[in-house]
């Protein structure tokens, strides 16, 4: 936001590009979870674009991003976040986009030293070089600490009016936002991508291990964001809705997964991912019963719905908490 504003202030026409990888936190969980209903569900990038008065192009990169996440040349960050490869990928996409749409150069909000892995002095030239953007990539917030790029050398932008921010502190950005008159400055820069989340990354790794294949579809990525995930055995996992909004969301997947819910008591909708045997379904049903209001009952009636619409009923005793090993919880 501040990078764009800095360049706009020089009278240059700026438009925004936002890449949707499937792992963006934006909207999803808020949209699914009932308890978040009261919060505004604004899309941050759209909001920023509107504040700046610029157009925003949102690009779906879900398919292409798979290769970035599955084979990051520069490895992962603290969790499953391939930040450096991700930046290279996005700047490369932006490079293609500007060529197709008649723009002259690319700006990003990167700051040297802001992120331990992907925004170090050493990584700045790597992103420029490996993305193919070269010196068409300008970082207005820290440009003065980097060699002059083409837009600066050609005089398209005035280097003197660019910035020299470094380090993790966000104070200079706050001050700059204030100077620009932006009062609701809420640029998260991190915390906006599920791949930096420890629990989410663990679920993703679990999924790959269970399937014996490091691949995913968008639905997998979405389902990892929802519900409680329990794997009682290697060949199947349960996704248990934690509240009504999640239950409604999971309902949309009943044609693709075996599902369960309690008939005799109020309880959550549960999806079963994998290939459970008929026997496994009894254990799964007793776990389902544990998460409903019949958790203390002698017997709970559980309805099992198959993908083809057929159903059966199981009568089970809810499993006791102490009989559920910690390792089951992903």
């Amino acid at each position: 936001m501040l990078a764009a504003k800095t360049i706009q202030e020089q009278g240059i026409h700026v438009e925004g590009i936002n890449f949707f990888t499937g792992f963006c936190v934006e909207g999803h969980t808020h949209a699914i979870r009932e308890k978040d209903k009261a919060k505004p569900k604004r899309n941050n990038s759209l909001w920023v674009a509107e504040q700046l008065g610029i157009k925003l192009h949102i690009v779906d990169v879900i398919e292409e991003y798979k290769n970035v996440l599955l084979n990051p040349k520069h490895g992962y960050g603290q969790h499953m976040n391939p930040c450096l490869d991700c930046k290279i990928f996005m700047v490369n996409k932006a490079r293609q986009w500007i060529a197709e749409n008649g723009f002259d150069f690319i700006i990003t909000g990167e700051v040297i030293g802001q992120r331990p892995m992907s925004q170090r002095k050493a990584t700045m030239p790597i992103v420029s070089k490996e993305s193919g953007a070269g010196d068409l990539l300008l970082r207005p917030l820290c440009a003065k600490n980097l060699p002059a790029t083409l837009p600066e050398r050609e005089g398209w932008v005035d280097r003197e009016k660019l910035h020299d921010i470094t380090g993790r502190s966000r104070k200079p950005q706050m001050a700059m936002a204030k100077a620009f008159g932006i009062d609701d400055y809420s640029q998260p820069a991190g915390g906006c991508c599920f791949l930096t989340d420890k629990n989410y990354s663990a679920k993703l790794v679990d999924l790959w291990q269970a399937r014996n294949s490091r691949d995913y579809e968008l639905d997998d990525v979405m389902l990892l964001k929802v519900g409680r995930h329990i794997r009682p055995q290697a060949h199947y996992k349960m996704i248990i809705a934690r509240e009504e909004g999640e239950g409604r969301f999971l309902q949309g997947y009943m044609k693709e997964y075996v599902s369960m819910s309690s008939v005799s008591h109020i309880g959550p909708l549960v999806l079963i991912d994998g290939a459970p045997s008929a026997e496994d379904l009894y254990l799964a049903a007793s776990i389902t019963a544990r998460y409903g209001q019949g958790r203390d009952a002698e017997q709970v009636e559980i309805n099992v719905a198959y993908q083809d619409g057929s159903e059966r009923t199981l009568h089970v005793k809810p499993i006791l908490e102490q009989d559920m090993p910690k390792a089951w919880f992903i």
Binding site: F20, L46, I58
Partner: protein, 76 residues
């Protein structure tokens, strides 16, 4: 003037916005698009997207867990 319908049910934001954006690209100024979604986030996101890109929101309807946005394609 053409009127088209876009089914964006089950998609979570920003996907309905992306689908709307891609559909509008193929339409002419003055055409209307009715986007049907299940993510309530669209009630904010599609109007914001329209304001940014110079399109006009004609109607916003919320029903039983379904949300419909009708927009008119503008000149950008």
């Amino acid at each position: 003037m053409k009127r088209e319908i876009l089914n964006a049910r089950r998609l979570l934001c920003p996907l309905p916005v992306i689908r709307t954006q891609d559909k509008v690209k193929q339409m002419q100024v003055g055409d209307q698009l009715e986007v049907i979604c299940t993510d309530p986030g669209v009630m904010q996101d599609i109007p914001t997207w329209c304001r940014i890109n110079g399109h006009k929101v004609l109607e916003l309807l919320s029903g039983d867990h379904e949300y419909t946005v009708v927009l008119e394609v503008g000149g950008g």
